[in-house]
Symmetry: C2
Subunit: 194 residues, 2 copies
């Protein structure tokens, strides 16, 4: 039987991960988010924390700075090495079973897989700021600064490895404003499309 | 009773207009597209053809060229004058009745109206090229060139008057790839969200 995949790309604090987990639970298929990190850790030997932090964000604030990061004989940085393993793990998963995959440029990596629904979840900054404080607590940096920093590093990573524009509607089959529509409605729409 | 509005922005050839008409018909509310042109013609004195062509596309291929177009004493071009009337007509409509409004930057104009669902319809260029030939017939220019030209002029118009990026998911509550999801599914999703 052909596998059917849903990829969920999401802005930080938009609730995309929660939506992905709920969609998977309703459809009775696995959701790969934290579990993806486990698989990549096994293959790569990198620590889970390193993968969580560097598997979809640029390490440095600019790509110029990243040019000076440690590289191997072929000119690959640790981040390039991690990208290649992540890519392989995602392709293998999509080959093996129907599932939901959250983040990690899976929409791009699986763009040529026939039965793949690509979803992008976003919300207004003020709603996301409120949500990250509820979910992850207060930090010394303001929620606005945390959002701005995470957005910037995620966009930079995505655009570097995919060559596509992050958040451009045309790169996804379905884009939803979770702040306006609500998380439950987003789950309903995605589940019914499957 | 509070009016409820759906705005449909769409890429040329994506079937957005057809979707808007079908949504309105199912919900039993009017759809303003051609009818909007009639209303704007009444108020502005411009010919219907002029409004259809210049009410959501730049007249010139570049804004530099448009700087040299005819302007009144206040520095407004015909296009600025048309924009202002269009804006007024759309705001009046939204005040008066529940409806679907296709195109004409209505998503931006009505962004502060509480009960407004903003939708963006897009599709891959090859699907849109096929559709415009089916809908509007062959022309001396290739469908690819017609798409490219129309896209460029529509994007330029939208970004000039709204200051927002055309097709960026975050500017809409819902973005749908009509080429992958199909027109009927798009109609279903929008109708159920209303």
């Amino acid at each position: 039987m052909k596998q059917r995949i849903i990829t969920i790309s999401r802005q930080f604090g938009s609730g995309g991960r929660t939506i992905g987990k709920e969609v998977a639970s309703r459809l009775g298929i696995p959701c790969y988010d934290q579990e993806l990190i486990e698989k990549i850790a096994e293959k790569s030997g990198f620590a889970r924390e390193y993968i969580a932090e560097h598997g979809e964000h640029t390490t440095h604030s600019s790509w110029l700075a990243s040019m000076f990061s440690t590289r191997d004989m072929k000119g690959n940085s640790n981040q390039d090495y991690l990208w290649n393993i992540q890519r392989k793990v995602i392709l293998e998963l999509a080959e093996k079973e129907s599932c939901v995959i959250v983040g990690r440029c899976a929409d791009y990596i699986l763009q040529d897989v026939a039965d793949c629904l690509t979803v992008y979840i976003h919300a207004a900054p003020e709603k996301r700021a409120k949500r990250i404080v509820e979910q992850y607590g207060e930090r010394s940096d303001s929620p606005e600064k945390r959002l701005k920093d995470k957005d910037k590093r995620r966009i930079s990573y995505y655009e570097f490895y995919t060559g596509l524009e992050w958040g451009a509607a045309q790169n996804y089959h379905l884009c939803l404003d979770s702040g306006v529509l609500g998380l439950d409605t987003c789950v309903d729409i995605i589940t019914k499309l499957y």
